[in-house]
């Protein structure tokens, strides 16, 4: 009995509603569908959760308020008070990634954040946005970010390119970290599930490992959303609290 399980099959993009505009494929895919669900769920949680505006919050309101306070705290401690004007963006980012990650954990759904296109688009928005914020706030002084202080001019020739490079690498580390973690985690789950299905009664051992892995993946899903958001905060802080 050979049960064929393709560990990477789960990441296949399928066109649900094929749309072609001027030779460009803009079909509504299963990934887009899951992203839509994530957006709808986040909106529903916040809007419906806070609709009653109860003084003593119920379960849903608590959940909405907790996530709000969690991100607000994060912005306050990492960016400072003037970072609060970027709170809506940071909050949206966090909730979207968190929900996309968690929705990916639901069996037979699709892990959107395992697509580097999605994570890189998010990271690029953060990177470009932060750079624009820095330039708007500080003008050309923003470029001082790349010039370490108290360094001989000769060394600057070496250090400025390094600083510039380490700045430009940010969107890549930001996106690859998220996508690689989710991709690796989901592939591993599928591989162990394949073992469990193909070796009969002994399959309970890989199955047991898989149960632990699912718990680990839930942690990773939350942690990666947290890391993505906190790095966004740190980058914002660089642009705002320029020394």
């Amino acid at each position: 009995m050979a049960i064929e399980i393709q560990p990477l099959e789960q990441f296949k993009i399928e066109r649900l509603i094929p749309i072609h505009i001027g030779g460009v494929d803009v079909s509504y895919t299963n990934a887009a569908f899951l992203m839509t669900i994530a957006v709808v769920l986040v909106t529903a949680l916040i809007v419906l959760g806070t609709r009653k505006r109860a003084l003593v919050p119920g379960r849903w309101q608590s959940l909405a308020e907790m996530s709000y306070e969690f991100v607000a705290d994060m912005v306050e401690t990492n960016v400072g008070h003037e970072g609060q004007e970027f709170f809506p963006f940071v909050f949206t980012l966090f909730m979207f990634i968190l929900f996309a990650n968690f929705l990916g954990m639901v069996p037979y759904s699709y892990a959107v954040t395992s697509q580097v296109v999605v994570t890189f688009a998010l990271a690029a928005v953060v990177f470009i946005g932060v750079t624009i914020v820095g330039i708007v706030r500080h003008g050309f002084h923003f470029l001082r970010l790349f010039v370490p202080q108290g360094v001989p001019v000769v060394l600057l020739l070496l250090l400025v390119p390094i600083e510039l490079l380490s700045y430009c690498i940010r969107p890549f580390t930001l996106s690859i970290r998220l996508f690689a973690n989710i991709l690796a985690g989901h592939t591993m789950l599928a591989i162990f599930a394949g073992f469990a299905a193909s070796i009969g009664l002994l399959g309970i051992f890989p199955l047991a490992i898989n149960i632990l892995l699912v718990a680990l993946e839930v942690l990773v899903a939350a942690l990666q959303a947290y890391v993505f958001t906190i790095l966004t905060c740190l980058y914002l802080s660089d642009a705002i609290n320029l020394h």
């Binding site: 401690t77 960016v79 690498i169 890549f172 973690n181 980058y235 020394h243």
Partner: protein
């Protein structure tokens, strides 16, 4: 408990919330420990990929520069080493808590310090 409690349940709730808040401020160290663990976990996940991505991305960038300007193989060589340096710099900054860029100060300085730092800026 006390006899001079306001009869209004809302005011009483407000009083209780204030008390709970004061309690929370006093218990701050315990809360700090938990968030320290959370931050440590986040940090560990972060730095794993930092060096790797820095080297790969800058090497590819060097290769692309070589293709555009026909400077093979110098762009790739130079950017490979710069990538190592940049990656190490990022890891070093993440580990020492000096996240972000040059001159960035630790974020756990309280909001007041951040405010005064901001006010001191003349740029």
């Amino acid at each position: 408990m006390s006899e001079n409690r306001p009869p209004d349940p809302l005011a009483r709730l407000g009083e209780e919330i204030d008390k709970a808040r004061a309690e929370r401020v006093r218990r701050q160290p315990a809360v700090g420990d938990r968030s320290a663990m959370q931050q440590g976990l986040g940090l560990g996940v972060r730095i794993g990929i930092e060096l790797f991505v820095a080297i790969v991305v800058s090497t590819v960038l060097g290769w692309a520069i070589d293709r555009w300007f026909g400077t093979r193989p110098w762009g790739m060589i130079v950017l490979f080493f710069l990538g190592i340096a940049a990656g190490m710099l990022n890891v070093y900054r993440a580990v020492t808590g000096v996240s972000g860029a040059v001159g960035y100060r630790p974020p756990n300085a309280d909001a007041a310090a951040a405010k005064s730092r901001w006010d001191d800026e003349d740029c």
